[in-house]
Structures are given as C-alpha cells and as structure tokens.
C-alpha cells in the first residue's frame, strides 16, 4: 500500500511547478502569454520524452505528429463549422481526429522506421516528416500550401467572446492538462513492465531481445503514446491558439530540435526533466529576446554545445545522482 503511494511522489514537484506557473500567469499581469509559451515547451518536452527518454531513439520527425494533430483539429473546424448546433462538440471531434491521425501516422512510421536503429532511425524519421509535408504540398491535400485559416469559423462555432478566450486562455489550459496527463503516463510507464523493458532496451537492445523481452511491442507502445500527445499539443497550440495552418510551419524541423534541447537540458528519461528543461529553455529564450534582441541564437548555440559536452545527463539527471539515497530521492525521477 505504502509503496503504491510513494510511487507517485515524483508527481509532487512536477504538479507544484505547473501550479506555480499557473498562479504566476493568473495573478501577475503580463505573464500569461509567457506562461503559455513555457507550458507549450514543457508539454512538447513531456510528449517527446515518452519515446526518446525511455528508448534512446532520436525521432527527428517528431514534429510531423504535431503537424497532423494540427490538421486534425483544423479539418474538424473547417469542415464541420457549417453544421448548426454542433458547437463545442466540433472541438471535441477535432481532438479525436487529432488523436486518430497522429496514431495512424505513428503506426505507419513505427512499422517502417522502428526496424532501424541509431542514425538510420533519425534519418528515416526526418524523411517521413519532409516526405509528408511535400506530399501535402505536392498533391494539394487539405488545400496544399495555401493552408487553412479559420478564425472566422471558430468565431462562428463558439461565438466571438468564447472563441477569443479559447484562443488566448483556455487553449493554454488545455495544453497544461495535456502536459500533466503526459507526465502521469510517463510515470505509469516507468513503474510498469513497459518501463523496465525499455530500460533494458536502452542499455542493450540485443541483450534485451535475447532475454525474451518483446522489444518491438514496447517500442511501438511508447512511440504511439508519444505521437498521440504530440498530436494533442499540435491540435491545441497550433490550431486552437493559432487559427491557421500552413504546411511549412507545422512541419518545421526546428521544433523537433527544440524538443530535443528541452529533453536534453532537463535530463532524458527522467520525469521532471522536460519541465525543468522547458522552463530553462523558455525563460532564457524569452529574456534573451527582450534584453539582447537579435543575438539569442548566437548565444544559445554555444551554450547548448557546452551543456552537451559538460552535462550530458541534464539538470534532473544530475540532481538524481546527487540525492541518491537521501529522502529526496523519492521525489526526483
């Protein structure tokens, strides 16, 4: 019994961090949009971490799942808005569509790319991301490169005021909920058979296979879960909060890189890592943009290199090692 509760202790600092963010955003004026950005980075990191952190596979095409999730929501809004009386149901259908589409894509990618390892996997996933984008543009699927713009439809569905508060406030709350859900799932996976199997896989995939672990099954579970959360983040941040979709923007490889940076900063494979990484990344980016406009990338790039070289296990990874054996160890994984 006791064991069951202590299992969930690490959620305490995580939830505390999110609560603090929420309080800051709500109570200090001018902070909400910053908090929204931080939540977005944390959520993106959480979703990415489920797969990368647990398996060690680098999915360079991760943003594709966010992209199809965005399209799922966008398609629901643009295609259903003329049906009267659906109202908020359209948004729910949008989320369902986002999940279905990202799951389908991740199954297709998983079936193909998960047979590969290391750099081959990374390149294959880049290929999927770019290929998918060019398919949309080339075959003019979903309005091709002209994209979809749908603030007007959103207004029509929800009414002006509701739509406006959805775009500027509730969408961010939904992202926060997604981030917390992703954290729960991460913890659940870590403490269950899946986690142990994936740890074995990360250490030595061949040995894990020999031991009789069904490596492929667990890899695919983690992959699909990660993709689903990515799709949800996309549907919220890039469709509800940003009421347009242009293919080059939602398949932009830089977001994958950002997700990698966040996970690596915080510590790959840890529960708290993406939150810590997302906060560090978002806050430093924001204040660099304010105090040194135009130079943030020039400063960021060498800093990241230094971090990779000197602190490869990330902030939480280091903390974990420090507190090993102490009472705090229960809280940090």
């Amino acid at each position: 019994m006791k064991n069951k509760i202590t299992k969930y202790y690490p959620l305490i600092p995580l939830l505390a961090a999110y609560l603090l963010l929420l309080l800051i955003g709500k109570n200090i004026s001018g902070m909400w949009q910053l908090v929204a950005m931080l939540i977005f980075y944390c959520a993106m990191g959480q979703a990415f971490n489920i797969f990368l952190g647990m398996t060690g596979y680098v999915d360079f095409g991760y943003v594709a799942f966010m992209g199809v999730g965005t399209y799922g929501m966008a398609l629901a809004i643009t295609h259903l808005s003329h049906i009267k009386g659906l109202g908020i149901l359209i948004i729910i259908i949008g989320f369902a569509l986002a999940i279905v589409m990202s799951t389908l894509l991740s199954m297709a990618v998983g079936a193909v790319a998960l047979r590969l390892r290391g750099a081959y996997f990374a390149i294959a996933t880049i290929g999927v991301n770019e290929g998918f984008r060019f398919l949309i543009e080339g075959a003019r699927i979903w309005n091709g490169s002209e994209g979809l713009i749908f603030t007007a439809q959103l207004n029509q569905i929800l009414g002006r005021e509701t739509a406006s508060s959805l775009m500027t406030f509730w969408a961010d709350i939904i992202v926060l909920i997604i981030a917390v859900l992703a954290a729960f799932v991460t913890l659940y996976y870590m403490k269950s058979k899946i986690g142990y199997a994936l740890t074995a896989l990360r250490e030595d995939e061949d040995a894990a296979k020999v031991m009789g672990i069904n490596v492929t099954k667990y890899k695919i579970i983690a992959f699909i879960t990660s993709a689903c959360f990515a799709g949800l983040v996309g549907a919220t941040s890039w469709a509800l909060k940003t009421p347009y979709v242009f293919p080059p923007e939602v398949f932009e490889i830089h977001y994958t890189i950002e997700a990698i940076i966040i996970v690596l900063l915080g510590g790959a494979g840890t529960l708290l890592g993406p939150v810590v990484g997302g906060l560090i990344y978002g806050i430093s980016k924001y204040y660099l943009a304010i105090f040194m406009p135009g130079f943030q990338l020039l400063i960021f790039a060498p800093v990241i290199i230094i971090i990779i070289v000197l602190f490869p296990e990330g902030v939480v990874g280091m903390l974990k090692r420090r507190v090993k054996g102490s009472a705090l160890a229960k809280f940090i994984i």
Binding site: L52, G56, V58, F60, V112, A113, R115, L116, G118, A119, Y120, A122, I123, A124, I126, G127, V128, E130, G131, F134, L135, E137, G138, A139, R140, G144, S145, I253, I257, I260, I261, L264, A268, F295, L297, L298, F300, A301, P302, I304, I305, I308, V309, P312
Partner: protein, 295 residues
C-alpha cells in the same frame, strides 16, 4: 516535345547530380568514420558559398581558385570543432552528437549573419555558354561538374594510395582492430572529421558555380536534407557511394519532374521531393547499405 524536355532535364540533372554528390561526400565520410550524422551539414556548404562570394566580389578571384581556399578553411574549422567538441562526444549517444552538430550549424549561420548580414547575394562570373541542342549550359556549370568529379577521384586516390588514407580506411572497417595494430585512431578521427568538413565547404564553392545566386546565411537547410537522401542512396558511410548517389539523385529529381508535371492539379517539384523521401525510406528498409554497394 516532352521527350526533348526530358532529355534536356536528364542531362542537366546529371551535371547537377555530380555537384550534389560532391556536396554529400563530406557527410558520408564523417558518418563512415565517426558514426556521427552531421546535421549542420548545410551550414558548412553555406560557408563555402560565402568564401566564394567574398573572394570573387572583393578580390576578383576566380571561383575555381576558391575551391582550395574553401577546402583549407573547412579543414581548419573541422580541426577546431573536432578538438573542442566532437572528440568528447564520440562515445556519446546519437542524441548528443545530433544536437551538437546542429548547434554548430546554427553558430556558423549566426556568425556569418553577423559579419555579412542576411541579404541574399550572388555573383556573376561570365565564362560563356555551350548549346547542346536539347538544353543550354553555362560553362560555369560544366566546370563545377568536372571539378566535382576530379575531387571524387582525388579522394579515391588519397584513400587507396596514401598511408593516412589507408589508416582511416582501417578505422572505418574495425576501429578496435586498428587500435591494436598501432594506428592512431584519435588522429584518424580528427583527420577524417576535418577532411569531411573541408570537402563540404569546398563543395559550397562548386554549388555556387552551379547556382551563383540566393547566397545567404540560412541557405544550407535544403542542402542538408538533400544530402541525407543522397548519402542514403550511396550507403551512408561511403564517400564515393555518395558521389554516385548524387548522380542518381540528380537524374531522379529532374527526370521525375517532367513526368509529374503531366499530372493535373499537382505541384510537381514538391512531388519530386516526396518521391526522393519515399526512395530514402525504401532504401533504408530494404538495403541500408545503399543501392550501389555490393555488400
């Protein structure tokens, strides 16, 4: 009419493919020896383009002469990056090396932007044209093609006829074995990394001979993605494989355009790129050693 266009495009594709191939050899060399994918590849091509531009526009130096200059600069950059960063990451997981090389790319882009600004530039090197009936070639394009082939041959000779080359080769085949045989594996890593970067920067010069406009700090991204496809075509770890991969890629890209353009309501260029990524996935799945290898 269509056939004539197809023929013209295929010949253009072959010439462009040689340059593409050359532009990928560095990527393949680095992957072959260090097992590191240089995600910042395009940024090094961009550096080469700026070297050419600067030499031509301020000093009036012939772009052909810019090739060795760019190569030397690339070797220098390679050595610096190897000893400050890559050396410590050789045994690290992919995640670290992918992110490190990507960050190096960003660093270069931002530095170049700081020095040259974000303007789109170009240069005009007039050396005449040649008409072959189905299409027209500026001589600069042909020089770029010949230069690329020449560099591929030189690299082949270096690998097979010099001591340093064979040392690197033995590291590719079995780094532990090479270490036992008394080969300086660390040195071979450093040499191949900087050689790879040198080749990539030099290829930037040749690419601008082919396309001497649109030179700006962020021009490299598209070339990185193309280089991935080409490298996979050539088996990912073989520099000459990459060269021939480039030829095949040029033919596919230009050839399929003419065919896709016959379909109504599509964007043919985007479809050629879609096709190239489909081919990438297919090769990775069926024959990850590349379509040209005998293994």
């Amino acid at each position: 009419m269509i056939l004539e266009q197809l023929a013209g495009n295929l010949i253009q594709g072959l010439v462009l493919g040689a340059v593409y191939g050359m532009a990928t050899m560095g990527l393949s060399l680095i992957f072959g020896v260090l097992k590191v994918v240089n995600v910042g590849h395009g940024a090094f091509i961009m550096v080469g383009a700026f070297v050419t531009l600067w030499l031509f526009n301020t000093l009036g130096i012939n772009p052909i002469l810019a090739v060795p200059v760019a190569f030397a600069i690339g070797m220098g950059l390679g050595f610096i990056f190897y000893y400050t960063t890559m050396q410590r990451l050789i045994k690290a997981p992919e995640l670290a090396t992918l992110l490190a090389t990507f960050s190096l790319g960003i660093l270069l882009e931002e530095l170049i932007k700081l020095i040259f600004g974000s303007e789109f530039r170009g240069y005009n090197w007039v050396v005449g044209k040649i008409n072959i009936g189905v299409t027209v070639f500026p001589m600069a394009k042909l020089y770029a093609c010949i230069g690329s082939a020449l560099i591929a041959v030189l690299l082949y000779l270096w690998f097979n006829k010099t001591r340093a080359g064979s040392a690197v080769r033995s590291v590719v085949e079995d780094s532990e074995g090479a270490r036992v045989c008394g080969i300086n594996v660390g040195g071979a890593y450093a040499l191949s990394f900087s050689l790879g970067i040198g080749l990539t920067v030099a290829s930037g010069v040749l690419l601008t001979m082919f396309i001497p406009v649109g030179i700006n700090p962020y021009m490299g991204g598209g070339y990185t993605l193309k280089a991935f496809v080409i490298a996979v075509l050539g088996g990912l770890s073989s520099p000459y494989g990459a060269f021939f991969g480039g030829l095949v890629f040029g033919l596919i890209e230009n050839g399929s355009y003419t065919i896709f353009a016959l379909l109504p309501g599509v964007e043919p260029f985007a479809l050629t790129r879609f096709l190239s990524f489909v081919i990438l996935l297919a090769i990775l799945l069926i024959k990850p050693t590349g379509i040209l290898s005998r293994k």
